[in-house]
């Protein structure tokens, strides 16, 4: 099962940082999100795009895990040579992650 089956994601820009929110479509799936979306796994998934630290804010009452991705926008919207300078499309990439199966 992929994250795409149980979550939506939205990204935004703050200077040279991207924000990434991942929200459970059904709040009952929030524990799966929290387990799947470790800082290490997200950092590895965005290798080659996110050059800096990955900061994570778990928000169980919103059934959401929120990230700040540092040095992720090639210098920021105003400077970037990228087609998607805002990093708006970055969020969708996280939905490609395989969800960790529940532990037995």
């Amino acid at each position: 099962m992929k994250l795409h089956d149980i979550a939506l994601a939205r990204s935004g820009d703050k200077g040279n940082r991207a924000t990434l929110s991942v929200i459970a479509l059904d709040p009952a799936h929030y524990p799966l999100l929290e387990r799947t979306l470790s800082v290490e796994r997200v950092k590895a998934h965005y290798e080659g795009v996110v050059r800096g630290a990955v900061e994570r804010h778990a928000m169980p009452h919103l059934a959401a895990v929120h990230f700040v991705l540092h040095d992720a926008l090639a210098g920021g919207v105003t400077r970037s040579l990228a087609l998607d300078a805002h990093g708006k499309t970055l969020a969708a990439a996280v939905l490609d992650l395989e969800v960790d199966p529940p532990r037995p």
């Binding site: 795409h4 089956d5 939506l8 939205r10 935004g12 820009d13 703050k14 200077g15 040279n16 940082r17 924000t19 929110s21 929200i23 479509l25 709040p27 290798e47 080659g48 795009v49 900061e55 804010h57 928000m59 009452h61 919103l62 059934a63 959401a64 929120h66 700040v68 920021g76 919207v77 105003t78 400077r79 040579l81 990228a82 087609l83 998607d84 499309t89 970055l90 990439a93």
Partner: protein
């Protein structure tokens, strides 16, 4: 100010400078609103507007201002809806005069317009050029004569005199986006400027509304996963705000889109860094304990925000010239499209070396393969069509023009079957940030009447 027996109804009329106009008109006419807010300033907008103003002293405000005002002013006047917007950009006074001109044209001569200025701190920054820039090791001095604008993010306090003046329309330059919404709430409910938890709740209202349809079903649909009805007619949102700062987010009955836990959560967290510390000129808002409850169809109740004392300094955005970007694109399609696109990339690499641009910072990629998420994605796909894209950072316009010319020359000199060349050159206006002491920023309010 007396406590209102009914909630204050505040709507969003635009979430960015180019936003749709018809949903704003629908809200103005049928929303039963007390206030309608148009947020139209992105980070670089003022710098670009400043460049326009330097060529024409009467310009420098939002190019769509007249069209937006024309669409909503009749209903706003008839129903007593106050209209608040940062469409003044680099020239709020000219924008105010333009609003009056539209009012006269519509046969509404009694309209009073308040213009809020004081965000322009370019002179102060030039006089204090040892001020450090945020997120880099430079100072304002390092921007030299490339600096074109410096605007402080004013808070809701700067709008209170304009609201007290009774003006129908309030036009500003740079104001923190959520403050455009917080100000009428403070004015209506008489919230104290140091009631931090209350101001924090007002900021949540503003943050949820400031991107307009992004909270009411826009930017959400993912067919089969998250379905949204009628994106051609998404209803812009409004909030019904109580005197204690709690609110319900909703939209016009019968409009497209959706307002629910998912749409509101996505917007609540949008572009937030630490949810417990959302820095605003009026308050450090705390979203970490916000709760959302679906209380009816397309109705979400919001509560639980907090706040702490406002920051000592205000944030300033400094616009500066930052060279040029030259870009070219060409498509390849059918069997072997990717291989021909890759060959074209290799040819471009050698051409850029040959014409002396080989050392420039660049992106060279295939749209459809690896243009969005970097080198690690798309390595195994064989798309039916690909589009080569090369973009270079250049010091001069002439250099930047060479990039598109070289891509275009792939027509006759490159791989088979290239088509659909586009080329562009744009001057880059960079945005840097700095902090300024509050004492150096003096908001002013001028009331215009025809």
């Amino acid at each position: 100010m007396a406590q209102s027996p009914r909630p204050f109804r505040i709507g969003a009329g635009a979430g960015y400078a180019g936003d749709r106009i018809d949903p704003a008109q629908a809200l103005a006419e049928r929303g039963g609103l007390d206030a309608l807010v148009f947020e139209c300033l992105a980070e670089r907008t003022i710098a670009l507007a400043q460049l326009r103003r330097s060529r024409d002293p009467d310009s420098g405000y939002d190019p769509l201002l007249e069209a937006r005002i024309r669409a909503v002013l009749p209903a706003c006047v008839a129903q007593g809806v106050r209209l608040i917007s940062n469409m003044g950009a680099a020239n709020p006074a000219a924008a105010g005069a333009a609003v009056l001109a539209v009012a006269r044209e519509l046969g509404l001569p009694q309209v009073r317009v308040a213009v809020v200025t004081g965000d322009d701190v370019l002179d102060w920054m030039r006089a204090h050029d040892a001020t450090p820039l945020i997120d880099c090791a430079q100072t304002v001095r390092d921007l030299g004569d490339r600096l074109v604008s410096a605007n402080a993010y004013l808070g809701a306090d700067a709008l209170l005199p304009a609201l007290a003046s009774g003006a129908q329309v309030i036009i500003t330059g740079r104001v923190a986006d959520p403050a455009l919404f917080l100000a009428p709430l403070m004015h209506h409910f008489g919230w104290a400027a140091d009631d931090w938890p209350l101001l924090g709740r007002g900021i949540v209202v503003g943050h949820l509304l400031e991107c307009a349809a992004q909270v009411s079903g826009g930017y959400l649909a993912d067919p089969g996963h998250v379905d949204v009805e009628r994106l051609d007619d998404v209803g812009f949102p409004l909030a019904e705000v109580q005197a204690d700062g709690r609110c319900v987010i909703t939209k016009l009955p019968g409009s497209g889109g959706r307002v629910d836990r998912l749409s509101c959560t996505a917007q609540l967290l949008y572009e937030i860094e630490d949810p417990a510390r959302y820095l605003q000129p009026d308050v450090v808002a705390d979203f970490s304990a916000v709760r959302l409850h679906e209380v009816g169809p397309d109705r979400v109740a919001v509560e639980g925000a907090g706040g702490r004392a406002r920051p000592e300094q205000l944030k300033v955005t400094l616009g500066h010239r930052d060279g040029f970007i030259g870009e070219g694109q060409i498509s390849y399609a059918g069997p072997g499209a990717r291989a021909r696109g890759e060959l074209a990339l290799a040819v471009m690499e050698k051409r850029l070396q040959r014409i002396g641009l080989g050392d420039r910072e660049r992106r060279a990629e295939l749209i459809g393969v690896n243009a969005m998420h970097g080198p690690l994605r798309g390595s195994d796909c064989e798309p039916y069509e690909v589009r080569l894209r090369v973009a270079l950072r250049c010091a001069t316009r002439a250099q930047a023009e060479r990039v598109g010319q070289e891509v275009e020359a792939l027509y006759l000199n490159g791989p088979a079957g290239g088509g659909g060349v586009t080329q562009s050159v744009r001057e880059v206006i960079g945005a840097a940030s700095a902090l300024i002491p509050r004492a150096a920023v003096a908001p002013r309010c001028q009331v215009l009447e025809s």
